[in-house]
């Protein structure tokens, strides 16, 4: 409050929702408080919830440095220094397995899942009939709103041993293909699930960006002799560049996070080895097995690395002259 008063500049400025024209510096903090009481009161429930469920858990991370026992509580549990981080430093096999699965899945995601919506958006953008475009978009956006459990159930019904595909193969005297419970195909399976669920929805930003490309740029390119493909390459894609960079940064920040909700229900079918990722490792070790400290330590390192990646990627984007997610 006091800082607010000190910083209040002399120049007249009207707040966004039409404050009366009163120079802020002439008001004492008490009068400013009275003036803004409704706004502050309105913010209380939301801020309270954020503090309680986003910021207080940060404090809970101290158990990463403790030998936490639920029945004696966080405060009473003994400090153990960095002992819980040993699984990371010494390369515990289960941890390394979870890490490598996570990284392989992330790589597949960036290589396969990331480009598809861009292609799909270019395709949608080239549709002439607005009506067709809207119908196709409505259909392709829909799976985004289904839960992972529903998506997994649908995949089982389509590709499972008794599913549509194998029923068809059997009826036609062909051999069946085991996909759902095949550990070797698990990473491709989850990748295709992500594609089915979110590829359509992910086009939304690209389509919006493409609709903002100045049509005269295409015309100019056509006069210079560019065909359709060259127009796409030299006009459309540059128009998408900042959106692509923005989304890529956000995606990289999620490198170590891969769909807890998507993996957990499928672990039973393919086994831990093929399916354990960092988030399920934290859950299975902490909540299920009660290794609270180790799970919290891995979760904490994961969170910090994610934030660091976002900052670094953003910096790199600035070097290449892009805006990134924020301007430093």
């Amino acid at each position: 409050m006091v800082t607010g008063l000190r910083q209040a500049p002399e120049r007249l400025r009207i707040g966004a929702l039409g404050r009366p024209h009163v120079p802020a510096a002439k008001l004492t903090w008490w009068r400013r408080l009275l003036r803004d009481k409704v706004l502050l009161l309105a913010a209380v429930p939301g801020i309270g919830l954020l503090l309680l469920f986003q910021y207080v858990p940060l404090l809970g991370n101290v158990i990463a440095f403790k030998d936490y026992e639920p029945f004696i509580g966080i405060l009473q549990s003994p400090w153990v220094g960095l002992a819980n981080f040993a699984v990371i430093f010494n390369g515990d096999p289960a941890f390394l397995n979870a890490l490598s699965n996570t990284l392989v899945i992330t790589l597949l995601q960036v290589l396969i899942v990331f480009p598809v919506p861009i292609g799909l958006a270019l395709l949608l953008d080239s549709l002439i009939s607005e009506r067709t475009k809207r119908i196709v978009q409505s259909i392709l956006y829909l799976p985004h709103f289904l839960s992972w459990i529903i998506v997994i159930a649908i995949f089982q019904q389509m590709l499972g041993d008794a599913g549509l595909m194998n029923t068809f193969l059997r009826d036609h005297g062909l051999g069946t293909i085991s996909i759902i419970s095949n550990p070797g195909l698990f990473k491709l399976l989850v990748t295709s699930q992500v594609l089915w669920k979110d590829a359509g929805w992910a086009t939304i930003l690209f389509v919006a960006a493409l609709s903002r490309v100045d049509p005269t740029l295409y015309e100019a390119a056509a006069i210079d002799g560019a065909g359709r493909w060259r127009q796409r390459w030299h006009v459309s894609l540059p128009g998408l560049r900042s959106v692509i960079v923005l989304l890529l940064i956000l995606r990289l920040g999620q490198s170590l996070t891969f769909g807890f909700e998507q993996i957990i229900p499928q672990q039973q079918a393919v086994g831990i080895n093929a399916s354990e990722v960092l988030d399920t490792y934290v859950f299975n070790n902490g909540i299920v097995n009660g290794d609270w400290g180790i799970a919290a330590a891995v979760g904490m390192v994961k969170g910090i690395v994610g934030v660091v990646i976002v900052f670094v990627a953003n910096k790199v984007a600035h070097w290449f002259g892009e805006q990134g997610i924020y301007q430093a």
Binding site: A8, A16, L17, R19, P20, L33, D36, L39, L40, A42, A43, P45, G46, I47, L49, L50, L52, F53, Q54, P57, L59, G60, N61, I63, I74, I128, R134, L140, F145, S147, W148, I149, I150, I152, A153, Q157, M158, A162, G163, T167, D171, W196, G200, I204, P215, T216, E219, A222, A226, R228, Q231, P265, Q268, F283, I287, G299, M300, G303, G306, V307
Partner: protein, 299 residues
Amino acid sequence: MTTRTMTGGLVPATRPARVVKAVVLLICCAVVIVPFIGIVATSLSTRDEVVRSGGFVMFPSRITFAAYQAILSGGVVTRATVISVAVTTVGTALSLVATSMLGYGLSRSRSTLHKPLLMLVLFALLFTPGIIPSYLVVKSLGLLDNYWSLILPVAINAFNVIVLRAFFMELPREIIDSARIDGAGDVAILWRIVLPMSKAVLAVIGLFYAVGYWNAFFTALLYLQDNAKWPLQLVLRTYVVNQVNLGVDQLGGVGGAQLPPQQALEMAILVLSIIPILLVYPFVQRHFSKGVLFGAVKG
């Protein structure tokens, strides 16, 4: 109709290119739609046909609603549906109220404490709290096995707050100024002017919250140990994904010897969990293309 102007400056596609394009889009749409048709069809199939087809029925010759009757006449699925509907309704209402209040509270850049409060919201976007610490907070609040654990931890989404705040800040100032001159206070301005003018964006944000609550699996798995309190998503996991058999005990005593086939029951549960999303989708879908959400973030 393929004049130059309508292609927006793009050189018109050749005929073969147009055919390829149409085929690709048709396949994309079919990949989304065909599973839905198959699921609905199987849920309506009779025992004979399910047995004959070996599980999956694409084109039933005769339809029956027996599977829906069985799951909706009391029992596990009915209870879970009631729980999911209640959590979604209460949660969405609470989220919308808290989010619009917070968005309004942050909508004047010169107000007291504006900067620190805004930073608090923005930082919440950058990280998600870990699984273990979140669990400990919910546990120490005594919310384990309590329905509020499905609502309170996810009630505020920082991104939605930012979107709504940006939208509020762009409302025409003249209207708000004139209301103030007419003697309206901050409460009246929010209730009579700001909220009614933001119906579209509130609808979209409400949809996202509602879909989030309806689909919530993670919070339920983490915070509810008592399976009598399970919402629909956990029931789906147990009986559809893990294929635990649904017997008379789980179906409120209906069926007996004439229990509908398991496959039809499973697909009926699946349809039941998809229907609410299909119902609200058309109402908000038209707002997506208008950029209601993403237009607001760029500022």
